[in-house]
């Protein structure tokens, strides 16, 4: 179990709900992932339809904590308004703060992010910002009242895995007392395992699971990999060296000759 914001959770896998082949597969993936948190979003509704009610039932029946995002927002004002609407609809003060600065990289706009984070924490939100691996940005977000940070591994949906390992490691080394959740750019379970082995606290992913050939099996794979990476980090990983180290003691082995 671990503490994320004001909740005690079982799983360190946070799962996005977009892009699955069907609601049934989404539901099965959530079950297979055994996740504790799922992300959701908001859209304009032209009229009532069965899909919106069905999705509502699905997320409510999942038993997961809901983390509304501010996807599509480009300014702090848009994100704040979206967060307020998310709070009213989903009855949670958690918000995944996303403010995009570039249509190609979908990377966060750091300036608007800090501005929005300050406002939202003042208004009682628990802000989980999708940010870059920039240490100064992360420190400013903490100054703005965030208690969890979610740096990207790589651009959203790119599946490239963690690109800037040095910067991510620096974040972990310098920001020891907060939850750091890798969000975006994960492609395969070994990526998730890798960041957990670095000491990160959780992984949020969507496309890597939703767009897999078998999303349900992939959800299970990610759950296993995140658990394995977490255990490995806490078990103490053997540090690499540039020379061989015999695992079998060589003294007195047959044909061993003393030098």
């Amino acid at each position: 179990m671990w503490q994320l914001e004001d909740k005690t959770l079982g799983s360190r896998l946070l799962l996005g709900t977009a892009g699955y082949p069907s609601p049934e597969i989404l539901q099965q993936a959530i079950t297979a992932a055994n996740c504790s948190v799922i992300t959701v979003a908001l859209k304009r509704s032209q009229q009532l339809n069965a899909d919106s009610n069905a999705f509502w039932q699905l997320i409510k029946n999942s038993g997961c904590e809901l983390l509304p995002n501010t996807a599509g927002c480009r300014t702090s004002e848009e994100a704040i308004t979206t967060a307020e609407m998310g709070r009213e609809i989903f009855a949670t003060n958690w918000v995944k703060l996303e403010i995009i600065g570039d249509d190609y990289t979908l990377q966060p706009n750091p300036f608007e992010l800090v501005k929005a984070a300050k406002q939202l924490t003042t208004r009682g939100f628990r802000v989980l910002p999708y940010c870059t691996e920039d240490l100064i940005l992360c420190q400013r977000l903490l100054d703005a009242g965030c208690q969890t940070l979610m740096p990207w591994a790589a651009p959203i949906g790119s599946a490239m895995g963690p690109l800037n390992l040095e910067a991510l490691q620096l974040l972990r080394t310098r920001l020891t007392d907060i939850n750091l959740i890798i969000d975006a750019g994960i492609g395969c379970p070994s990526h998730a395992c890798q960041v957990m082995e670095m000491g990160f606290d959780g992984v949020l992913l969507n496309s890597a699971c939703a767009k897999a050939a078998d999303p349900v099996l992939m959800a299970k794979a990610f759950a296993n990999s995140i658990s394995a990476g977490y255990d490995a980090y806490h078990a103490g990983i053997l540090a690499p060296v540039s020379k061989a180290r015999a695992s079998t003691p060589l003294v007195d082995t047959p044909f061993w000759e003393q030098v």
């Binding site: 996005g16 709900t17 977009a18 892009g19 699955y20 989404l26 992300t39 959701v40 979003a41 908001l42 859209k43 304009r44 509704s45 032209q46 009229q47 009532l48 919106s52 009610n53 999705f55 509502w56 997320i59 509304p68 995002n69 996807a71 004002e77 848009e78 308004t81 979206t82 307020e84 609407m85 998310g86 009213e88 609809i89 989903f90 959203i156 969507n206 496309s207 939703a210």
Partner: protein
């Protein structure tokens, strides 16, 4: 009769109160939030919100997201 932009579509309505507007056009919608002129309007303020010509109303519902 104000002309309103509702979720990006212009329409003429003969209602000038937000609560009444929602009750007539979105009566069956259960889980939603509203912004008028890009400003969030809490549920408890619907009945006190008057709609004016050229106001923009966004009715927002849950959807899948990453």
């Amino acid at each position: 009769m104000p002309k309103l932009c509702v979720n990006g579509n212009w329409q003429q309505v003969d209602i000038s109160n937000l609560a009444e507007f929602l009750a007539t056009q979105f009566a069956e919608l259960q889980h939603f939030a509203v912004a008028v002129n890009q400003a969030f309007v809490p549920k408890q303020k619907y009945s006190r919100m008057n709609l004016n010509d050229n106001d923009s109303i966004d009715i927002i519902t849950p959807m899948q997201g990453g």
